[in-house]
């Protein structure tokens, strides 16, 4: 599904990622852990076309995304739930969802997909015509996920979807992710909330200072002494 090979990138001249190699298999949930400033968001942005890779390869179902023009990446099957949600605050909930369906592949199905999102997140359906910026943080996060699903992705990238949300909402969102995954969606999940993330995911990577410093099944990572000290607060 997703193959990242020796990816390097950064901002201006400042290199942030160094030879990152990682993968997500079909139907897998993989989590990416790491301290603040490790480069997790940078990696997500490089995958979703917000930031251009400097070198290395990103293959999605054997299509090389590093050679794809940024606005065509969503069409090839990656959708992102960005850090801080980045919904369009002055647009209605429905219009935010429709932007998710902008790419040529998903656009013809936008009507059915909007209905589907409203079934997944009934709270959004009560607020269809409300401006997105006037909603609570949890509702905005649901909207960001809904918008990404509108793109009909085969791989969903989520960058700290639980940040700043009440535990009950986080639980609800993780439940939705689990459900979507059972329906076949592959997921790459960046989380600060490492225990929750490892419980949901089958595998994980640890990123530090722009380098992958550890990887393994959730069980292995949960048992790793050093990790437990650094991220799990155990």
């Amino acid at each position: 599904m997703l193959e990242i090979r020796d990816l390097t990138t950064g901002y201006g001249r400042a290199q942030v990622l160094w030879d990152v190699t990682a993968s997500v298999a079909d139907g897998e949930i993989v989590t990416l852990l790491g301290p603040n400033g490790a480069g997790k968001t940078t990696l997500v942005n490089a995958l979703s076309g917000i930031l251009r890779p400097w070198s290395g390869q990103v293959l999605l179902n054997d299509i090389d995304l590093t050679a794809t023009r940024p606005h065509l990446i969503s069409q090839s099957g990656i959708a992102v739930v960005p850090e801080g949600r980045r919904i369009f605050p002055d647009m209605t909930v429905t219009d935010n969802l429709l932007i998710g369906a902008y790419n040529k592949r998903a656009r013809p199905h936008h009507e059915g997909n909007v209905e589907r999102i409203y079934e997944i997140f009934p709270r959004l359906s009560e607020r269809k015509r409300q401006l997105a910026g006037s909603m609570s943080g949890g509702e905005q996060q649901m909207l960001a996920i809904g918008r990404a699903l509108m793109a009909e992705p085969s791989l969903l990238l989520l960058d700290e979807p639980s940040l700043g949300l009440a535990p009950i909402i986080v639980e609800n969102i993780f439940e939705v992710l689990k459900q979507l995954n059972q329906e076949g969606l592959s997921i790459l999940l960046v989380e600060q909330n490492a225990v929750e993330a490892l419980n949901l995911a089958g595998r994980g990577y640890v990123l530090e200072e722009g380098r992958i410093v550890g990887e393994g099944s959730s069980g292995e990572l949960l048992a790793d002494e050093r990790l437990r000290k650094a991220y799990l607060g155990l």
């Binding site: 065509l72 960005p82 369009f88 932007i99």
Partner: protein, 292 residues
Amino acid sequence: MNADLLTQAAVSGALIGGLYALMSLGLSLSWGALENINLAHFMFILFGAYVTYQLTSSAGIDPLLAALIVVPLGFAAGGLLQIFFEWAKVDEFKSLIISFGLFIILQSLARTIWSADFRSLDQSINPYVGSSFTVGSVSLQIPLVIAFVAAALIAFGTQAVMGRTFFGKAVRAVVHDPDTAQAFGVDHRRVGVLLAAIASAYSALAGVLIATFQSLSPTMAVGWFGIVFPVVILGGLGNAVGNFLAGIIIGVAAGVAAVIWGPLSASLVTFSIMVLALLFRPEGLFTRKAAI
């Protein structure tokens, strides 16, 4: 003060307000949606008017039919300028400075081509100028009625496109966050170029309508500042219908002020309205904003 005179001033003001709105819409869209304070729109209007004048006076084309040539030219010019702005990574402030330079250069080009003398299409070739009809005691100039109707159709049409189509939603998404819009498949360069081209086509059309009833001179564009900026600010950047209503408000205010205090007071009044709007409603009278 004669009530008939005031009514006439208000009605004529409202009608010409439609034209003011059309003259302002290009700048409003450019500023609001592309973050370019693109003064070249004044030149798209001026050249729209002069090229119409030229087509009618030398080729005998009906001035309104000249729009079929002038509007596509405006569309192309605006699109090309936006391609340059994208390439040069021009921000809001630089766009103001660069387009001010363009304003000066193109204004002297107009003077070189058409001289500083007033140019106008007289009635022998221009069926619109001087024609009017009366309703009650109020006289309505036909070219202003045409401009008003065109402006109304364009304002509401633009609003519908912005609100209902994928293109319109993409424009609004790009305004707020081009990177995220791009991650969902919006080619923000292409959207920008298309929008700039449409905006410039509107300005060129405003020029065509001006040529149907006004005398042209290269310096007239400077006088439009006192109209266009107040309309753009009052209407709310990028808000097509708000811009149309603001055009009418400014048109009526300027017309009535001219009757009561004399013609020189008109720009004092319109600029005062603009300053009040900037102080108390900087997002314009008609724009809906999120609470945050």
